[in-house]
């Protein structure tokens, strides 16, 4: 049996050594000081954009403008958030297939920046906006004082609520502190004025740490801290624990979201007609509908909230109705907005790009006033603070600006992407509700997260 196995292996091994020799060569350190080039005649560079957040008009602008400036072609490839890490892992080290410029989640930036995936663009930093750029995102793309990736856009989360339901529950003014918010949503949940099954005063998914994290931040806590070059998870920090206790209270008394719900599409639960069955099959006929009086979601969710209508083609439309819906930035306990998780993207040039000069020209276009304003007009927070005004001055823009004024990023630890990939944060949050000893739970997960934070 043994030598048969060896024989079989030999089949697979035969002739392989030659191929093995073709594996990746040593990576060269990213070089500094490449100047933007406009000589792109006959050349093509590739830009990866993730998800569909960048609207088509902006994509068209980039391709035309790039062609105008360099005579070259810009190819935009759309990637999915669900597998962007896989794609970056395989493609960025591959000089023949790497995108020249790529977007990535701001939380994914440190991981890739730390292993030298991106070109050092410190020399262009000033020209692209310098200190005007959103600094927390700049930090996510910085290693040893050098800039590798820069902010692309930001979004932040704020609260959407049902004015009508809150009013029926007896609350007519917007909470101004976090404590008040916590109390209000519990009151709304207890009142359940429309007698709806599985009703949530505040709908927070059991695994939705991206929204729930605000309670940790607002109490002065954090997920992890850097101590002497090592990252250590700090879920058992007393301030973090204070936030966890508040979250537990919400989960128990104000929230009926599924324990495995994550941060996705919360808004369907505060609309009127995403109908939900009644408590028993007997009252299924009752037109009960909304199952959440309050949600937290990224700003762009407001396009999906409102009264239902249909357009000429019969597709469902949503019209915001101020009488029914309201929004505000989650309040903190210090008179400012509570720190929320800053969503958004970074952008960088692949260290293996064959056309770094042209790629830098593309960055110049992206950080130009025109493009920054286009981002703002489309509801995406511009990287450069000079153009935040482009967001407009409506209630959504002001909530976005208010909430992002105090927004925070996930730890810039090299292994943060591992933490996200393992789903350990989701798991931790899903255990908060039923935990009888939050300190022990926090310690348990600190022990799981700390080693992941420091893996490179």
């Amino acid at each position: 049996m043994k030598n048969k196995l060896w024989g079989a292996t030999a089949f697979a091994v035969a002739g392989v050594l030659a191929l093995a020799a073709c594996s990746t060569g040593g990576g060269s350190a990213a070089s500094t000081g490449i100047a933007p080039s406009t000589n792109g005649k006959g050349k093509t560079i590739t830009l990866w954009l993730v998800g569909s957040d960048t609207p088509d008009a902006l994509r068209t602008y980039l391709t035309t403008e790039f062609n105008k400036e360099t005579k070259g072609t810009l190819k935009i490839e759309q990637q999915d958030w669900s597998d962007i890490v896989t794609k970056l892992t395989t493609s960025l080290p591959d000089k023949n297939n790497t995108p020249d410029v790529t977007e990535m989640g701001n939380t994914q930036s440190p991981t890739f920046t730390n292993v030298g995936a991106f070109l050092d663009i410190s020399s262009q930093y000033k020209a692209l906006g310098g200190p005007k750029l959103l600094q927390s995102f700049v930090a996510a793309g910085e290693v040893n004082g050098k800039n590798y990736t820069l902010p692309y856009y930001f979004g932040s989360r704020y609260v959407f609520y049902r004015k009508d339901v809150w009013a029926k529950a007896g609350i007519t003014s917007v909470p101004t502190t976090l404590t008040e918010f916590n109390k209000d949503v519990a009151t709304v949940a207890a009142a359940n004025p429309d007698n709806i099954a599985n009703f949530s005063g505040f709908y927070l998914g059991g695994q939705d740490w991206r929204d729930g994290i605000s309670w940790i931040f607002a109490n002065g806590g954090d997920i992890a801290k850097e101590k002497g070059g090592k990252w250590v998870a700090s879920l058992d920090d007393p301030n973090t624990l204070k936030g966890l206790a508040q979250l537990q209270d919400i989960y128990k008394n104000a929230d009926n979201a599924p324990g495995d719900a994550q941060d996705s599409n919360q808004y369907i639960y505060i609309n009127n007609d995403d109908s939900i069955a009644g408590k028993t099959s007997a009252d299924a006929a009752t037109p009960v509908s909304l199952s959440a009086a309050t949600i937290m979601a990224p700003g762009w969710a407001h396009w999906s909230i409102g009264d239902k209508g249909t357009d000429a083609k019969g597709a469902v439309t949503r019209t915001w109705n101020d009488a029914t819906f309201g929004n505000f930035a989650l309040p903190g306990n210090d008179g400012k907005a509570a720190p929320v998780f800053a969503g958004g993207s970074n952008i960088g040039i692949s260290a293996k790009s064959k056309n770094p000069g042209l790629a830098e020209t593309l960055l110049k276009i992206i950080f130009s006033p025109t493009y920054q304003q286009m981002l703002g007009k489309n509801g995406l927070g511009p990287a450069n603070s000079d153009y935040t005004s482009a967001l407009g001055s409506d209630q959504f823009a002001s909530a976005l600006i208010a909430s992002s004024s105090n927004s925070k990023l996930t730890p810039a630890a090299p292994g943060w992407a591992s933490v996200e990939a393992s789903g350990v944060m989701e798991e931790f949050f899903s255990k908060i509700k039923d935990s009888t000893d939050l300190t022990a739970l926090a310690k348990e997960y600190d022990a799981k997260i700390t080693p992941m934070l420091n893996t490179k």
């Binding site: 998800g51 297939n97 599409n265 007609d273 995403d274």
Partner: protein
């Protein structure tokens, strides 16, 4: 198995079995039916508290919405071309190999048989990075050829396995008798052996086709360009995009239907031949 003179007791139990059969069939087909049904209904109807079991008042609006994206047909083309290449290569290579292991004794034969079996036991999830590097080093990422080679390699072991039963099942005496009658070896093979093998080839071909049509993870890694997406990638992309708003189940089901329909048509088309293929191959396992 049908007995000619059915006694009443037998007939009664046959009716009972038939009823069970119909019930099982209905249960088994329900998910497929539900996909078709939902693909014809609007999302508003689908979100209703009471499910709609018949697509009354349905329309093909979901399908037009899916087609409007304009990416379905390129992905269909890609899938069809890859599937054709792999099926042809696979059948050819597997047939030759099956011939070797069922008609010849040779040194290394057992090792080969064992290797064929072992390769099926490899968890593919660990191989992606290396497969990416492999294709990238020879410039075959995003290409039909590159992924076809990977697919052929992953399907050929099972195809060899299936075909060797068929080849072994065809008595070599038939061929030899034909040669006595004056046919050349090639003629004898083409006229006698090959027709007998046809059902086996069809059954193995269907299997290979199905594997390739469904494969998702390897394709994700070695076809990073949107332009070279296969149908499963396209479908997953469509679902993701739909989920980034609120999932429009009607459209997602329409998209799923579109991916399934070519396989179903193909299947129903070769169905009769395939089952007879499985019949003649199976027992020789």
């Amino acid at each position: 198995m049908t007995t000619i003179r059915l006694r009443p007791r037998v007939r009664r139990s046959k009716v009972l079995y038939s009823i069970i059969g119909v019930v099982v069939a209905l249960i088994w087909v329900f998910p497929v039916y539900w996909m078709l049904n939902s693909s014809l209904l609007s999302n508003v109807v689908l979100q209703d508290a009471t499910p709609t079991f018949l697509p009354i008042g349905g329309s093909f609006a979901n399908f037009s919405a899916v087609f409007a994206g304009g990416t379905f047909f390129p992905a269909l083309g890609m899938s069809v071309v890859i599937a054709l290449i792999v099926v042809v290569l696979c059948l050819l290579f597997a047939f030759l190999a099956a011939l070797a292991i069922s008609r010849f004794r040779f040194r290394g034969r057992k090792a080969f048989v064992l290797a064929v079996l072992l390769i099926q036991m490899l968890p593919a999830e660990g191989l992606f990075i290396a497969q990416y590097k492999l294709l990238s080093s020879v410039g075959l990422l995003n290409s039909v050829i590159g992924i076809s080679v990977l697919y052929t390699a992953s399907v050929v072991p099972f195809t060899i396995w299936m075909l060797r039963g068929f080849v072994a099942g065809i008595p070599i005496e038939l061929e030899e008798a034909a040669m006595v009658d004056g046919l050349s070896r090639t003629q004898a093979f083409l006229r006698i052996t090959f027709p007998l093998l046809a059902p086996g080839l069809i059954a193995s071909g269907v299997y290979a086709f199905l594997q390739v049509w469904n494969e998702f993870t390897i394709a994700l890694v070695v076809l990073p360009d949107n332009a070279s997406a296969t149908l499963p990638l396209w479908l997953q992309g469509f679902i993701q995009q739909s989920a980034s708003r609120a999932t429009d189940w009607g459209q997602v089901m329409a998209a799923s239907t579109l991916v399934a329909v070519p396989v179903i048509i193909f299947f129903l088309f070769v169905q009769g031949r395939m089952t007879s293929g499985l019949v003649s191959g199976a027992v020789k396992g």
